[in-house]
């Protein structure tokens, strides 16, 4: 005991000793290193592009210095003024903004109405064939939006733009522009696409609702109408709001549909406006537009987060194993099924059938036996100059397919693995602040619509900066953009999986003597195999369907299926283009089914996250 005071006298100050001990602990805790590296990486990959495009909006862009009498790179408010307060403003931002908002509002309203009705029919009544509909009604959400847009043009296209006419036009019915292009078809298609989302989210909320609450109200003498409006609706309101804001944000960023249906009649939305600005090399204007889109996305999602926080107060009402109790519709059972039948017909059967028929018909709209051929799939020596073979035997198709699998595949694998690492780091980091920062950064792309993010990426990676060479034109820029774009989902999946796993299996392995790599290889990754597979496949599917990133970042050398089909469309090779789109839809659908098999989770849960 006599030694203790002297040891204390000799010892350096307390703080220093603590630091040293802390270091000794952290040295054996790679989580901190992982978090630090990942944070830097994503700062560069996610925050970097956003800051870069933000900067572009206020800095003279190359090519503009002569007109602005300012050096390239100096500060300017010119772009801001041009977009918001010049005689071009109406064309550049106000009209597209009005278009975007009116599309979004109409889509949200229609999708909510239809989706809630369907959710109620399928979950709360004994409508005929409800089990089957529960699956079939979700399919439109798995198909890319532009599948519908192409099907629509196949039927309604008129002479306003060149190329093969639509079926109706070919049969002699002149379709007016307002029917063929612009607002109406865009809203119609987006409604078709997003109704399943409402159906899923609200359906889940309805299923979690304890029937006893309704029964209680009934015992107290409430009628069906009172119960619906004062019990059920208020309780599913958080789900409704959440679905509404999600769809709203998605509609603001939607690019493919307005691109296909709006551009022919110069019906611009913010995203197509941004695309136009980029392709006409007005980088400064594009930057301002991209920032505007981002701001709208951020505001929407902030509202969402705010509302969800408030809603959490009564989210826990779910009764466990609540009895299923459905309203009997009696003789209306079959009649009521006509609504879901109609939805499946218009949302799945009609577009896919139309697209398929269009690929086996030589002339559009003529349903005679001699007009049918499989040549566009497997033929050779076609009369189309640049496309001599059916797509299944065309080398270009397979090159594009291989590119897709390669680029999207690699990006998905990387983002899935990074997601798991983020989850590991966030949960294990001894410095929780750093973990939280990482979590927020990886969530950021969720707030930024794809087209704006693509523009931001272009702004950062188009030219060489420091040791990083110019990546535009290489597959790497696509991969990096895809990875960044996928991170919100991948990191959430990773965090969720690691939270569920808990520390103990890994701690047990540590005690048994396993070092970090062994633990990763033998414990963490094998246990997380299923979530990891999902976290790879889901980004893969959304990557394959994606348009906005590729349309801006891809070049002919890095042709993927989506850009390939758009190019075929430009050449008016509608049959081949539609065939490619059908293949994409097929892959997307198969992938979703595969995820369902692997994760064993309900489709609804997978898609909802």
């Amino acid at each position: 005991m006599a030694m203790v005071p002297s040891a204390n006298l000799l010892a350096p100050p307390n703080v220093w000793r603590r630091m040293r001990h802390r270091l000794a602990v952290v040295r054996h805790e790679p989580a901190l290193l992982i978090v630090a590296i990942l944070t830097l990486f994503f700062l560069y990959l996610i925050v970097g592009p956003v800051l870069s495009i933000l900067g572009d909006a206020f800095v003279v862009q190359s090519g503009d210095s002569a007109r602005l009498h300012q050096d390239e790179g100096s500060l300017t408010a010119y772009y801001l003024a041009r977009v918001f307060a010049s005689k071009m403003s109406s064309i550049l931002i106000w009209t597209p903004l009005v278009h975007t908002l009116s599309i979004a509002v109409a889509t949200v309203t229609l999708a909510l109405t239809l989706g809630v009705t369907l959710a109620w029919l399928i979950n709360r009544t004994d409508v005929f064939g409800r089990r089957w509909f529960a699956t079939a009604l979700v399919v439109p959400f798995m198909l890319p939006t532009w599948t519908f847009a192409l099907a629509w043009t196949t039927i309604f296209k008129n002479g306003t733009v060149g190329g093969q006419p639509g079926w109706l036009q070919a049969m002699g019915f002149a379709t007016p522009d307002w029917l063929a292009y612009g607002y109406l078809p865009t809203v119609f298609i987006l409604t078709l696409h997003y109704t399943p989302l409402v159906f899923l989210i609200v359906g889940n909320a309805l299923r979690r609702l304890d029937v006893q609450m309704e029964e209680c109200a009934r015992i107290l003498g409430a009628g069906t109408r009172t119960i619906t409006f004062s019990i059920v609706l208020p309780l599913v309101r958080p789900a409704l709001l959440s679905a509404a804001l999600l769809i709203f944000a998605d509609c603001i960023g939607e690019f493919a549909v307005p691109y296909l249906l709006g551009l022919p009649i110069n019906y611009d939305t913010l995203s197509t406006g941004l695309y136009r600005a980029l392709s006409s090399r007005q980088n400064g204007v594009a930057a301002v537009l991209a920032v505007a889109i981002m701001t709208m996305g951020v505001i929407t999602l902030l509202i969402d987060i705010r509302m969800m926080r408030e809603a959490r107060r009564f989210v826990t009402v779910g009764g466990r194993g609540a009895m299923e109790r459905r309203q009997p519709l009696g003789s209306m059972r079959h009649l009521a099924a006509s609504l879901p039948v109609l939805c499946v017909l218009i949302g799945v059967v009609l577009p896919l059938l139309t697209l398929f028929l269009s690929t086996v018909m030589i002339l559009p709209g003529r349903f005679t036996p001699d007009n049918f051929t499989l040549a566009y799939w497997i033929g050779s020596d076609l009369h189309t100059i640049a496309m001599r073979n059916g797509i299944l035997v065309a080398p270009d198709f397979w090159i594009a397919a291989w590119n897709t699998v390669r680029i999207v595949g690699i990006a998905s694998v990387i983002s899935g693995c990074l997601g798991l690492l983020v989850g590991y780091g966030v949960l294990r980091s001894p410095v929780s602040l750093l973990g939280n920062i990482l979590r927020q950064i990886t969530f950021l792309p969720y707030l930024v619509p794809g087209i704006a993010f693509a523009a931001a990426f272009l702004s950062l990676f188009a030219v060489a900066r420091g040791p990083i060479p110019a990546l535009y034109g290489t597959p790497f820029i696509l991969m990096l953009a895809l990875i960044a774009e996928n991170m919100p989902f991948a990191s959430r999946a990773g965090i969720a999986a690691m939270t569920q796993l808990g520390r103990e299996p890994e701690d047990a392995a540590r005690v048994a003597g396993a070092g970090f790599l062994t633990r990763m290889r033998r414990i963490i990754i094998p246990i997380q195999a299923a979530p990891l597979a999902t976290a790879i496949l889901l980004p893969f599917i959304s990557g394959i369907k994606g348009v906005s990133l590729f349309v801006i970042l891809a070049v002919p050398a890095t042709d993927v299926l989506t850009t390939y089909s758009l190019r075929l469309l430009d050449y008016n090779y509608d049959q081949a283009a539609n065939a490619v789109v059908l293949m994409i839809a097929l892959v997307a659908w198969l992938g979703t089914v595969l995820i369902q098999r692997i994760s064993g989770a309900g489709l609804s849960r997978g898609l909802e996250s």
């Binding site: 103990e504 701690d507 047990a508 003597g513 195999a529």
Partner: protein, 371 residues
């Protein structure tokens, strides 16, 4: 077999919070079978995790076999994978993706033990723990008791010098508990391993351990053999925590610090005690109270309030004015509720505690039957 020593061990989660472990000094001798006993939340698991190294100390030193493995003062930290201790988690933490056999041989594989020996040792351990029949099953296909034996086998296979067990019996049903208890004792005797286990259950601690360390609120309260702890509790907390039914506490003062009123039991008792020591409470174990049907010399008058059979023994609630005492007996009581009765509270059975709750050693007192 190594000895474990904790010196001024402190663990604080977060800066402002009260430390979960606060200045614990404890030595577990080589080959000892020790129990950390305390109510839930007192920091037992935290100590175990720090010994294993999956948690690091905020202050103080942990040494295993004389070698500091975690020393804040000297900035030393040996990670768990290098400490060679075995830890059986409270909820087992079996690896769900490996079969029982793979769970058990994981540690040996890490040590690159060659296949034939590995096989032999695993078979041996699994046979001893009677899980050999389930070798090819996955953890989710086993019952709780079987899972626990796998968790134990997983650690025993590598034959660690120190085995740490977190609440080893608490998740088991009564029959399994007895079986597992025998198993653990047998293991300790065969392997001679130093074992530290954690429990909130005094029965578990009393029946299993050689030494018990009682904890509360992150502080160590007393270390001793089960008998010592029962017979000479170091403070009020230990006295009240150990023993079932609980020890009777008779305050000699009321809450305001004044001598209690004249009719009370406390005063009558205090009159017999040495005047010059500041006694705050007297404790007497239920079984140390003696009943006498006719008021004998020195006996106090009580009324029988109720009689509760507890299976083979009886607890009798006795009233003296406002005061209540519990008496327990192994023989069928001959009294009935409402009976007037005399009670003897022998001096040597009285445990005396001062104002801060510490035990007062006064010759002639607190040497109850068990001592």
């Amino acid at each position: 077999m190594p000895e474990i020593s904790l010196h001024n061990l402190v663990k604080a989660y977060g800066k402002s919070a009260k430390p979960a472990v606060d200045g614990v000094n404890l030595t577990v001798a080589d080959g000892e079978f020790m129990c950390l006993l305390g109510p839930s939340g007192c920091g037992k698991t935290t100590i175990l995790r720090m010994i294993a190294g999956i948690e690091h100390a905020s202050g103080g030193t942990i040494a295993i076999d004389g070698r500091p493995v975690d020393c804040v003062e000297r900035g030393q930290f040996v990670p768990p994978e290098k400490r060679h201790v075995g830890l059986v988690f409270q909820n087992y933490a079996l690896w769900p993706h490996m079969t029982v056999a793979r769970n058990v041989d994981f540690g040996l594989r890490l040590q690159h033990v060659d296949a034939s020996e590995r096989e032999a040792r695993c078979r041996d351990v699994m046979t001893k723990l009677r899980i050999i029949d389930y070798a090819d099953r996955y953890p989710s296909q086993l019952s709780g008791g079987q899972q626990q034996r796998v968790a134990l086998a997983r650690m025993l296979a590598v034959n660690p010098g120190v085995l740490l067990l977190d609440e080893p019996l608490s998740n088991l049903d009564a029959a399994l508990r007895l079986e597992m208890r025998a198993e653990l004792r047998r293991l300790h005797e065969t392997f001679g391993t130093t074992i530290v286990f954690v429990s909130h259950d005094q029965w578990e601690a009393m029946t299993l351990a050689d030494t018990i360390a009682v904890m509360e609120g992150g502080h160590l309260q007393q270390v001793g053999t089960p008998d010592e702890i029962y017979a000479r509790p170091a403070n009020r907390f230990v006295a009240e925590f150990i023993g079932n039914p609980r020890i009777n506490m008779i305050p000699s003062r009321d809450r305001k610090g004044q001598e209690t009123d004249t009719a009370s039991l406390g005063l009558k008792l205090t009159e017999r005690l040495p005047r010059d020591v500041p006694i705050d409470v007297c404790g007497i174990r239920p079984e140390d109270i003696r009943l006498c049907e006719t008021p004998a010399d020195g006996a106090l008058p009580f009324t029988v309030e109720s009689i509760m059979p507890t299976g083979g023994s009886w607890v009798i609630e006795l009233a003296h004015g406002e005061d209540r005492l519990f008496h327990s007996t192994q023989s069928r009581p001959r009294v009935r509720p409402k009976d007037q009765i005399g009670c003897l509270l022998p001096d040597e059975a009285l445990h005396l505690f001062d104002g801060s709750g510490r035990r007062m050693s006064i010759p002639g007192y607190g040497m109850s039957a068990a001592a």
